[in-house]
Amino acid sequence: MQATHAPEHGHGPPGGLMRWVTTTNHKDIGTLYLWFAGVMFFVAGSMAMLIRAELFQPGLQLVQPEVFNQLTTLHGLIMIFGVIMPAFTGFANWQVPLMIGAPDMAFPRMNNWSFWLLPVAAAFLVGSTLLPGGAVAGGWTMYPPLFIQGGISYDLTIFAVHIMGASSIMGAINIITTILNMRAPGMGMMKLPLFVWTWLITAFLLIAVMPVLAGAVTMLLTDRNFGTHFFDAAGGGDPVLFQHVFWFFGHPEVYILILPAFGIISTILPTFARKPLFGYASMVYATASIAILSFLVWAHHMFTVGLPAGAQLFFMYATMLIAVPTGVKVFNWVATLWRGSMTFETPMLFAVAFVCLFTIGGFSGLVLAMAPVDIQLHDTYYVVAHFHYVLVSGALFSIYAGVYYWLPKWTGHMYDERLGRWHFWLSAISFNVLFFPQHFLGLAGMPRRIPDYALQFADFNRISSIGGFVFGASQILLLIVIVKCIRGGARAEARAWEGAQGLEWTVPSPAPYHTFLEPDVAERHLSPPLPQAGGPPSGDEGRGEGYAPELR
């Protein structure tokens, strides 16, 4: 697809700070998203360090219980909305146009706004710690009636959620429109790189459920300030209503946090196994199935609120059903590696660790899906261990893998492989020291979100805290690797990795400020079909669904 610039628009970026404030370039905005996620990662990570320090031994040491609750709440909110989601959106901004041969995102100005709303919301969340009464302390899930009772920072947090929601919806509309409308000629839907497919489905989930979250927190706002009784039994309402609305958002949100990770891993494994991805089509269908099922399982977060047995059974079995498409994915990843000529550069190390550790998180999820078991384990450290296995060794490790994988394309330099491996091994080992014992703590009955605990939990908590400190400190290595890579290093070739497939590797490294302004560039590289696609079904050859030549 050809591209036309605004007449006043030069080839290079404008200089100074205003470049970043006013930019409409997908690569600039992707960079902003990634740096924002990085900064917020260290903010929320420091909170985690404080949490683990407090839990290092029984009794109250460092922080008061109210502050502890603020730390766990903000850690969750910021890690989800300020780190994982912006990081994946950063990847989407950088890679989706490069991967589909589009000149930019469909709505470049709205793209800028999607990003620049995030610092506002982050300022609300972090700044609310300074307000009277401190920051929100009701848990990231914001359940009433507790959340109704807090002070001024609770309202500020509600508005922060609104603003982050607006940012996510606009970002998702941009991504979905880019993928559906701006593919290069010949880039049919079943030739899309899997990262693009997973983001297409993620964007759909975002558009479907972020407004529901906005509705839920709006009801909180009016219950708090304007006298409504949505969640107040005296007025005929029900606090459990909030949980239903929240988790109708919350469960698809879980897949919003992991589907792009699946896409990244499905890109990296074939590169370093030097084999096409096994079962491309089944990967696409599995992703779509997971997304559809995600709308039907929300009440498995609510097995202890007194649901009728029939509802518990439905949500239990529906949840277990998700293991089927997820199993298809894990099978395909392993089959991709099978008899591949593998090498283990840092992206591959993180990707392989993802497959192993995410699967452990998936299994503990299956355990929790069983209603009778969940009633025992609800709100214990088993749950904390479960969702950190899927979010840290799942989502976060995939982000690390993606950063190492695409850094050469972004900076034009190879990163320091030795430091990268140190970062990997320290992270992978300390992560397990940190979170694996929490399974035992949860099974033994230690509740989450409590700053103190009974003596019998002391040993595992100490081990977990030591793992936490090592994990936290190891992440500074990542920062060093990235800064070093930006400042210099071995020059990266256009195809930085020998086995890498896809359009992004046909442009120079670093990727020029503007790419794919002319359509035929993409077309040339698209035939023969992308090897990564594993060869499309024969009927699809060259059909280029969704592409109308006369629109060019």
């Binding site: 589009a102 100005r109 506002v120 009801m219 009784h229 029900d238 459990v240």
Partner: protein
């Protein structure tokens, strides 16, 4: 660089997004401070609103001028179509949250409060709908469906017809029909909003039906209130389309802004039908 009008238009760097972020910062922080009675909250809120209006004029003005200069090709047009469609879908899901709250309350939480399980906690509560719950004392009268709401249904459905009639005029190059149709639609929209305002006053002053009237009042005012807000936004969109029609914008072939506004108008129309059936009637 390709010739103008043939490629996908990539806009120059823009300051409007950061103005919009400043606007939302002012609106959200101002509202929070205002709610908590902190001095200056109202001013901050007003400043945020002013910034937002300035941003909307500036940003949409820029897009309209670019379009009039012929910078948008059919591919850009298709992007706007996808974008508007997904935006409306997100709006549908926003209303779904509140409809979900209504259905849940009516079918699950209110019957549960009236069940034998709750007799100890809420003795003598009979449940049923409408209700302000077992713990509130002030009586209220629910809004009847077959007065103003039925009239409003007629008005909104007619406005859907007039906007389609305006669209036919535009597609056949009959500008007077376009302008007349838009003006009629706007008048019907204004009539709807006026009647809603009258109904709200009636509810507050005579029926004892307020936002605080239990879960009935909450779902009634939040659903109809957000709908009214969306009618207002739709009317503003249509007013801009009327101004552009008078200024000679749009061709029989290329007029997606008009279509987007009318999609939005039909969307608020459909939401109203849901409201009429589930909030007023049943």
């Amino acid at each position: 660089m390709s010739a103008q009008g043939h490629g996908y238009y990539l806009p120059a760097p823009s300051h409007w997004p950061i103005v919009g972020s400043g606007a939302l910062l002012g609106l959200a922080l101002g509202a929070t401070l205002l709610i908590h009675g902190v001095a200056g909250g109202g001013w901050l809120l007003a400043a945020g609103a002013a910034l937002l209006v300035w941003m909307l004029f500036g940003w949409f003005g820029t897009v309209i001028r670019e379009n009039e200069r012929g910078l948008f090709n059919l591919r850009v047009d298709a992007s706007y179509r996808w974008g508007m469609g997904w935006f409306i879908f997100s709006e549908v899901m926003f209303f779904a949250a509140f409809f979900g709250a209504l259905f849940y309350t009516r079918t699950i939480s209110v019957p549960d409060l009236a069940s034998a399980d709750q007799q100890l906690l809420w003795p003598g509560y009979a449940g049923g709908w409408p209700t302000s719950g077992p713990g509130l004392e002030d009586p209220f009268t629910p809004m009847a469906a077959w007065g103003i709401p039925a009239l409003n249904t007629l008005i909104l459905l007619s406005s859907g017809a007039t906007v389609t009639w305006a669209h036919w005029g535009l597609k056949r190059g009959r500008r007077r029909q376009l302008i007349l149709g838009l003006a009629l639609t706007l008048a019907l929209g204004a009539a709807f909003l006026g009647l809603q305002a009258y109904e709200y006053r009636h509810a507050y002053s005579e029926l004892g039906l307020t936002l605080g009237a239990g879960v009935y009042g909450a779902t009634f005012f939040m659903l109809t209130g957000f709908h009214g807000l969306h009618v207002t936004v739709g009317a503003i969109l249509l007013a801009v389309m009327l101004a552009r029609a008078l200024a000679g914008h749009f061709t029989p072939e290329r007029h997606f802004a008009f279509e987007a506004a009318s999609w939005y108008w039909h969307f608020v129309d459909v939401v109203w039908l849901g409201l009429f059936v589930f909030v007023y009637w049943l």
